[in-house]
């Protein structure tokens, strides 16, 4: 059972696209040959007209993408994005990191700069910083090695940040990379490198049937035909105009319901159709307060009726959320939850390796169903079975 599967700490992942205001000019691939690295510049954004090409992205993006992730310099041997439709033209995925915060990217059909196109909304909440950035599809290519899509910062273009996705031909694979510049502090370079396989397809298929996804239509709240309200866009220190389609708010507490409206973000958590909430309460019992807890929400149970880890290794690949709860944290609100039935497993990480391993303490399996827009609560107790 030793290290059945690695679910590592994911707090670092939450820094994807985070406004890290460091000034180090980190050059992974340093860009065009220059004796001195040029300052990053915004570039013109020309959306792809999906009435011509590119709408197929919405179909392709659905799925439980299971693989590995390199975020800056932290490697996560297990990582997953659970992309499911939440409207006829909007697919949503989030990484819930737990106490540290979360990171989401959703893709939706919209109007922008006179074109019917696709946008991404990327951001989250981390240590009291709320960020939401908008990207627009500006490249669609048929390459020898698959179908390629690029989405760039909707104001700053690829000079500020962008994401690339490639679906290799005749496979269920996805390569999903993000390149950031710290909002213009340096030339954009590789920030996240996620490679994965589409698994457990019935999850997204069910959501697609229930929402009539995918359709080339625009949700009322997600029409950017008139662009963004410049009064609310984040303006970086030293600039007079926003160089990114980014909305920011900062507060000491990590309360999304306060921060989201403060940020001026045109689309906030309460605008999302279908997504629900889950309040998880944990009765630690014999588990000391100083012990980190790993929380898993999965399609299949991680433990048997007696509370021992399952020997079915495939079950661990069905992890949909895998947050980590800090020391002394016994309550956690899971937000942006796809409606579904989940197995909920709390693991007391006794050896502190942030992975399921021998000696960790668990409990008998518990299951819960979240209805569309549901607000559920569960209490996990009897965490007493040492594996």
């Amino acid at each position: 059972m030793k290290k059945t599967i690695k679910f590592l700490s994911l707090s670092a992942v939450l820094s994807v696209f985070l406004i890290s205001c460091t000034t180090e000019d980190v050059r992974n691939i340093s860009g065009p040959r220059e004796e001195v690295t040029p300052p990053p510049k915004t570039t013109e954004v020309i959306p792809v007209d999906i009435n011509v090409d590119g709408f197929d992205f919405m179909e392709k993006m659905q799925g439980h993408w299971v693989g590995s992730n390199l975020v800056i310099n932290d490697e996560f041997p297990f990582f997953a994005w659970d992309y499911r439709a939440i409207s006829p033209s909007h697919t949503f995925g989030i990484h819930e990191g737990g106490s540290a915060g979360n990171l989401l990217t959703s893709f939706f059909v919209t109007n922008f700069k006179g074109k019917r196109t696709i946008m991404a909304r990327n951001g989250g909440l981390l240590n009291g910083i709320y960020r939401s950035s908008y990207f627009v599809l500006d490249k669609v290519e048929n390459r020898e090695n698959g179908r390629y899509y690029r989405l760039v910062d909707a104001i700053g273009g690829d000079g500020i940040m962008y994401m690339e996705l490639r679906f290799p031909n005749h496979t269920d694979s996805l390569y999903y990379n993000a390149y950031t510049s710290g909002l213009g502090n340096r030339l954009p370079n590789r920030h996240m490198t996620f490679k994965s396989k589409r698994m457990h397809t019935e999850l997204a298929e069910t959501a697609a049937i229930e929402t009539g996804y995918p359709q080339n239509t625009v949700d009322t709240d997600l029409d950017f035909a008139n662009g963004f309200n410049k009064d609310y866009l984040y303006v970086k220190d030293g600039l007079t105009e926003p160089n990114s389609a980014t909305f920011l708010a900062v507060q000491e507490t990590n309360n999304i319901f306060d921060l989201a409206p403060l940020s001026g973000d045109p689309y906030i958590i309460t605008d999302h159709p279908r997504l629900g909430y889950l309040q998880v309460n944990i009765d630690r019992g014999i588990i000391p307060d100083h012990q980190n807890l790993l929380l898993f929400l999965s399609r299949d149970p991680f433990t048997d009726a007696n509370g021992y880890f399952t020997s079915n290794l495939d079950a661990y690949k069905t992890a949909l959320h895998f947050p980590i709860l800090s020391v002394e944290e016994n309550q956690f609100l899971m937000t942006y939850m796809h409606p579904d039935t989940y197995y909920i497993t709390v693991v007391a990480d006794m050896d502190g390796d942030f992975a399921i391993s021998e000696g960790d303490i668990t409990h008998p399996q518990q299951m819960l169903t979240i209805a569309p827009l549901g607000q559920e609560e569960i209490t996990i107790e009897n965490i007493s079975i040492q594996n």
């Binding site: 180090e24 980190v26 050059r27 691939i29 040959r33 690295t37 800056i72």
Partner: protein
């Protein structure tokens, strides 16, 4: 005592004389997330690594591309390793390299990239001279 001073002097001279010649050649990156081949070369007194090939799953750089890309430039030898010295200045004026190369064998380099001051370690293998 004289002998010790001579040895120290020799070590010092040797250290100062490291000009990167031992790094010159073509190197392949061993990394689970991207493939890359770099040519470390000397040009205008600068040790730099030209990108011959790079593939991270979505971005691909090939030799036939019009633009030239460099993984680093202006390496300097210090404290038993080569560091990128040109762009390490921070707000605090501390020198903080973006990349450090340590030759552990004539055909193997341990490379440490510093991203947000956190190290990302790689191994580069020489594929030809």
């Amino acid at each position: 005592m004289k002998k010790q001073i001579c040895v120290l002097l020799l070590i010092s001279i040797y250290s100062c004389s490291k000009n990167g010649a031992e790094l010159l050649g073509t190197w392949q990156v061993k990394n689970n997330y991207y493939k890359a081949t770099y040519k470390i070369m000397e040009e205008h007194d600068s040790i730099k690594a030209k990108v011959l090939y790079y593939h991270d799953g979505t971005t691909i750089i090939k030799p036939e591309d019009q633009k030239e890309y460099y993984a680093f430039e202006n390496l300097k030898y210090t404290k038993n390793q080569y560091v990128d010295a040109i762009s390490g200045a921070t707000k605090t004026k501390e020198l903080h390299p973006n990349i450090a190369l340590k030759l552990i064998h004539k055909d193997t380099i341990h490379v440490t990239k510093y991203i947000s001051k956190k190290p990302l370690k790689e191994v580069w293998i020489r594929i030809n001279k």
